[in-house]
Symmetry: C2
Subunit: 145 residues, 2 copies
Amino acid sequence: MLSMKCKYALKALVVLAAEGTKLPSSAIAQKARVPAKFLEAILTDLRKADALTSERGAHGGHTLKGEPKKIMLGHVVRAMDGMLAPIPCASTFYYKKCDDCTDEKICVIRHAMLEVRNKISEVLDGLSLEDLLNMSPKKKQQLFW
Amino acid sequence: MLSMKCKYALKALVVLAAEGTKLPSSAIAQKARVPAKFLEAILTDLRKADALTSERGAHGGHTLKGEPKKIMLGHVVRAMDGMLAPIPCASTFYYKKCDDCTDEKICVIRHAMLEVRNKISEVLDGLSLEDLLNMSPKKKQQLFW
DNA sequence: ATTAATTCATATACAATCAATAGGAATTAA
DNA sequence: TTAATTCCTATTGATTGTATATGAATTAAT
């Protein structure tokens, strides 16, 4: 399950990618229809995840860091929610051994979940913000949802 | 993320499939290395999900309902954890509209998550308990994890 | 009938996580 | 100096996850 936080993060980034300019969090909140104060915290996390840069003070705001084509959904989802894999022992970025497993090389559940994690990764690590924008029927018009 | 409950459920079913006989929950707990009392509740859920039948009293126990080939991982995961999709609006079995979405037909996030949900379903609805057993190097010997 | 083995039902506990909100400090441009 | 903004820390309330406890109901064997 995606958390609301992650969904909001994606929406915020889509707005930034579509707009292509610096935006204050209040504007993003409005365009993305996301709780303003919650979004502030999310934007901070996105900055730490290197997805955007922020400028403080009057005329401050948030700008996408790099081209939308280079920011992949997988990166965002991992930064917000952690691993893509359904189970830690099947994760590549957040691997953790199971307590109830003696030999994970033969664990049939891990095997199955590795397949799932690879499929999820194929999709999310293959989709960029630009790809998301291109899915939208029209452009520059905030009709993404 | 798979819950522990779901993981335990899968392990219990693998044990039952491998064994091919009626087993009391205590025996399953031991073979699957799962907390015994927690497992009891899980087995009840699995019965309600039509994955096994239970007999009470002395010499009672749980038996897989139908062939291992017919019990798909997707069914088990849904019964334990709910939808496979990362987001309710992309679920087929547990669909729910988003509050912050006016036209989900064009929602780019939903679009992306539909792709994810379909990939997950391809894997989990395509894998049976029998398939899991066949992933194991040897058989009938409780070396599944 | 009694006993032991079992499932089944209900309640409880505790911790963690989620989804936010609050208040204010620090920064910046006008 | 002011207004607009990000940034930081704390708090809240609800929900979920991961169990454990207790005991009732059922069944087979003696």
